[in-house]
Amino acid sequence: MTTLIELVSASYRYPDGTPGLDDCHLRLRAGSRNALLGANGAGKTTLMQHLNGLLRPTSGHLHWQGHPVAYDRAGLRALRQQVGLVFQNPDRQLFSAHVEEDVSFGPLNLGLGEHDVRTRVAAALDAVGMRAHARSPVHHLSFGQKKRVCLAGVLAMQPQLLVLDEPMAGLDAPMQRDLQQLLDDLVARHGVTVLISTHDAAFAADWADELHLMVAGRCRLSESADRLMAQPQAWLDAGQSPPEVIAVHQELVRRGVLPATPVPRSMPRLLDQLRNGLTPQPQAQPHPHIHPHPHERPCHDAA
């Protein structure tokens, strides 16, 4: 797969002096599912705002499909059309009275005609399962519904890269499953690239093709999920607890209960291995996704 977007040695400091990014590298492959992990204050949100051109690196560059992004009006317009950014707090990104009106905000700003806008709004609301609420007042919606409307507002701009800041925060388990399903659909059917930030290492390991571990304004390690499961120390180095499945698998292998297969990426997959009597990966993988990047290297050396 080709590189869709790349942040090259980007540094950023907020006007009030707070450090944001520090020589940060990040590369996202077209059509991949990416998770960004890091403690509070590691710079996840700052990084995400760079991808959409909301923040401009003090030094370093942002490349879109191999070309450096121009931070003029036309360049930013083009970038923001391609990179949809969904913020964490829905109450701070919905500003219209009605659902439909809010979702149409982006398409209208793209200068589309009324008919196109309507089509897109309807499609976006369909995608997030909020078609029935098109005319509902936004402030009567539940938290989960508001989050979906935020997503619809970005989907209606038909971005190639979807960046979501903590999309799972505050959602209960069924809603998280729905959202995950929706994101997987977007990747599978429309070839959209997705980057989400999260605190949940287990979810990230299970869902993402590639994980990016951030520490202190820097993307310390970018690695495929499969490979990262074999390196518990890499998680610890990045200040993250490794997913529990790694330790359980290790122990079961040590005790000879399981053969020395690669670590499964989630507890259900481990259970599958146990139940199917040591059958190796293929059947156990609920996600049919391929991980065809054997040669990636850490975006920044952890040494």
Partner: protein
């Protein structure tokens, strides 16, 4: 438009403070009475004052492209009535002086008089008059906000003219001079504020 710290002569600063004080006392009395029956309004007034202050501190896009400070008194007077706007306006102006160095402590009385008393009362009066005359809501809101804004600036010009009469043309010429020079920023600003208030009220009506 705020008169800066220390610009007015001592007697004028004192006189305008004395002129504003009874209005403030009356406004506080009226708010206290409301709070007895609606205690939840205490927080609402605080949040609204914070919002008014925020709007005044923001650089909003205006027609002329200059950065501006809409007073927000029009909107506030329409929502809460002019009496509540005296203490709210007082707090906003005090905060502007202490957080932004816009206006000042010695000129607080004069600024309160123009922005927290004259402005809201004119805006409220114009709105009621507009409604009585059968204007559309948008038109009445626009005129209320726009004229409320203009009246504060006219009042400020009067205050300056009274303090510093022209050596030749006296108070009248001085008023024309001050009024003229600040008209460049204040008239477009009043129109922007009027338009913005209409947009805001219309949008709020949908919520």
């Amino acid at each position: 438009m705020h008169i800066m710290e220390g610009f007015l002569p001592f007697t004028h600063a004192l006189a305008w403070t004395a002129a504003s004080a009874p209005f403030l006392a009356w406004g506080l009395h009226s708010v206290s009475r409301t709070l007895r029956s609606h205690p939840e309004q205490r927080m609402l007034l605080g949040v609204s004052a914070a919002f008014a202050f925020l709007l005044s501190a923001l650089k909003l896009p205006s027609v002329t492209g200059s950065c501006s400070h809409p007073t927000g008194v029009g909107l506030g007077a329409l929502l809460f009535g002019p009496a509540a706007m005296v203490p709210v306006g007082f707090v906003v102006l005090l905060f502007q002086a202490l957080l932004l160095a816009h206006g000042g402590l010695t000129t607080l009385g004069a600024n309160v008089f123009s922005m927290a008393i004259v402005g809201p009362f004119v805006a409220y009066g114009v709105f009621r008059l507009g409604c009585a005359l059968g204007l559309t809501r948008s038109m009445a809101v626009f005129l209320a906000a726009c004229l409320g804004d203009l009246s504060t600036y006219v009042t400020t010009s009067v205050q300056l003219a009274l303090a510093f009469p022209d050596p030749v043309g006296g108070v009248l010429l001085s008023f024309e001079k001050f009024g003229g020079i600040f008209a460049f920023t204040q008239v477009p600003l009043a129109i922007t504020e009027g338009l913005l208030t209409v947009l805001v009220v219309n949008a709020m009506a949908q919520f």
